[in-house]
Amino acid sequence: MQNYNLNHLEQLEAEAIHVLRETAAQFDNPSILFSGGKDSIVATHLAWKAFYPASIPFPLVHIDTGHNFPETISFRDEMVARLGAKLVVGSVEKTIREGRVAEEKGHNASRNIAQTTTLIETIEGHQYDACIGGGRRDEEKARAKERFFSHRDEFSQWNPKNQRPELWSIYNGHKQFGEHFRVFPISNWTEMDIWQYILQEQIEIPSLYFAHERDCVVRNGVILAYSEYLTLKPDERVERMKVRFRTLGDLTITGAIESEADTLEKVIAEVAAMRATERGNRADDRRSETAMEDRKREGYF
């Protein structure tokens, strides 16, 4: 007899596809926020599955800080070409040059806060009424309370104390003029689910996720990729290390881990044995205990 039971990946996939189809049906002008990281790649893959054989009904929006890994950019361009999707790039460089946000100075300078301004400008400029993101609730404390359909006011702000109740799988996308939604179809996935799904579906991901040799700088216990954007402190030196990245953000803030895992199977084995969360080595979350919540209130991803 057939077993009428979906395993956890099948259930998570069915849920995400349902959310993506609701987004296409309920909004006039939705988009996918595509970072080039594994979570947004999985979200995009799910969108491809949700609407096949029709094409993905959302443009891919990339907020380019100008501090991206070159590997991320080339991967993005290949993926867009393969899917026949539309790409929209918001440039943080341009926002800074035009004086709408100040560049941070000093050793720990990052464009992480600056990119929120560019993101909001891009959303407003293209009048996106829903932005699909690869956010997961297991990533961080503040994200644990996100809805699938997360309402943002006309200033793109998230109000965690006044979120709409979200019941069953009925999603309320009604909004006032000028407001928009962030949509998180893979809310319920964990890092392990993402990896298992990438393996199961044979999804291509940037080479940065696999162990490779590169020039690094160790700062406050975090291994950072050495690049022209990183200002060295007097006591710091560049070391050649074998590393891989668990998340892909900016070159300046994304911590690497020392690793020998150069295949998907080895990465999964490593993740299973890992005793530190993946955002634990993101310098942006280390600024304060509620750093993520504070950034989200302002309109961050």
Binding site: Y4, H8, R21, K175
Partner: protein, 414 residues
């Protein structure tokens, strides 16, 4: 691996967050840097022990107040199962969040403080679990360490609860005496309660039977959107995209499209180009039909001899979620599966006192957290089933037409 969704509910200070922290900690689902954060934060608060509750209390406001104010989702896995925990606040003004968490749960874990016994919140949470038809209830009698692990205290609470639960519609109730703070009967059997012969909490969660929670009999397929590629390769393709809400669909099955009433046969079921032999809940698929009949978003596919009720008059129980009271004669937006209409509350039959489960007839004033039996009238027919038959086609939400907020959750009686 199975996926099990459970909620935790309890009064303020029942130790809910500590219990979750303990489950995560003892099942080795906590990472070093998280534990490190919590150890630091506990020290800052001047606590002698590591406060595991800090693992789940996420937002700035509640970290300051020391209470959970919004549903937080947590994840952990054992070799047997993957769990999604909806940590629901016990604070009275946030009961709406428990309804939110309960709507998708297979299991409700209700905490009772052994020193206090059953409280108003225990009744409220149990009733909501029953109203939302969570199939399994686990009553955790917590803080057993503070009553000297006394069996009599436990037995009395179990007896009180059984008396109360006789009025509820719950299939499966289990009791576990625990101390979340010390870890008794959470993952490891307690050495302090030899008199307890039952399973630990984790074992109970790992072994409750969740696969029969879906309706596999009555075929229901709400259409979310129509896939029309209009490409050369798929020129004539027309697929109805949706998630199966009930029953098993197969190619060759005769189906009826509602509201049109046209019938056709399923020619193919697929997902991303891959054939699906049988589609059952909660699968997301695309269904193609042999005939080119008019089907669009909000329509439903069902079997000719087994259809949902097409209704404009709906008998329902609603839970009011908004801080503004219900205004009579408001024309709400009603959302039911993928269908939307306008709806008016024609009549409030009674409100429920959730402590005694007594009906208060004639009460018309509906406030936040109130539960009421109402008669709705909608502008167009909805394709409904009773909620106790189908948790998808038996559920709806009401949206305020001005604020556009979700203001009520509804379950359909008939």
């Amino acid at each position: 691996m199975d996926l099990v969704r459970f909620i935790t509910a309890g009064s303020v200070d029942d130790g809910k967050s500590t219990l979750i922290g303990r489950l995560l900690y003892d099942s080795k689902s906590i990472f070093e840097d998280q534990l490190d954060h919590v150890a630091k934060a506990s020290e800052k608060k001047g606590l002698a022990h590591v406060d595991l509750a800090l693992l789940t209390d996420g937002l700035r406001d509640e970290r300051e107040q020391g209470i959970t104010i919004d549903v937080a989702y947590r994840y952990f896995a054992t070799p047997k199962r993957k769990f999604i925990i909806a940590d629901c606040p016990g604070h009275i003004q946030y009961t709406r969040n428990m309804v939110t968490g309960a709507s998708t749960a297979n299991v409700a874990l209700i905490l009772v403080d052994a020193r206090n016994g059953l409280t108003e919140q225990t009744h409220r949470h149990s009733f909501i679990a029953s109203l939302l038809q969570i199939p399994h209830l686990i009553i955790c009698i917590n803080k057993m360490d503070l009553v000297n692990y006394d069996q009599q205290v436990y037995d009395q609470i179990v007896e009180d609860y059984r008396n109360f639960a006789a009025k509820l519609e719950v299939r499966d109730i289990q009791f576990v005496p625990v101390s979340a703070l010390h870890g008794d009967n959470i993952v490891e059997p307690s050495t302090n309660m030899d008199w307890y012969r039952g399973s630990t909490l984790l074992y109970t969660l790992e072994n409750c039977h969740v696969s029969s929670d879906q309706n596999m009999v009555d075929c229901r397929f709400p259409v979310q959107t129509v896939l029309r590629p209009k490409s050369d390769e798929f020129h004539d393709y027309r697929g109805y995209a949706g998630r199966v809400a009930g029953g098993i669909f197969k190619p060759g099955d005769e189906v009826v499209a509602l509201p049109s009433g046209f019938t056709s046969k399923i020619s193919r079921i697929s997902l991303a180009g891959k054939e699906v032999e049988e589609a059952f809940p909660p699968m997301s698929v695309a269904i193609e039909l042999e005939d080119d009949i008019d089907v669009s978003r909000g329509d439903m596919l069902a079997r000719l001899n087994n259809q949902p009720t097409a209704a404009q008059d709906i008998d329902a129980i609603i839970c009011w979620l908004s801080d503004k009271p219900m205004v009579p004669r408001t024309k709400f937006i009603i959302k039911h599966t993928s269908r939307e209409a306008r709806a008016m509350v024609k009549e409030v039959n009674y409100t429920l006192d959730i402590n005694t489960l007594h009906r208060q007839e004639g009460e018309q004033d509906i406030q936040m957290n109130d539960i009421a039996r109402v008669q709705l009238r909608t502008t167009s027919p909805l394709f409904i089933d009773p909620y106790n038959k189908n948790r998808t086609t038996g559920a709806f939400i009401l949206i305020d037409p001005v604020s556009l907020n979700t203001v009520a959750a509804g379950v359909i009686k008939s």
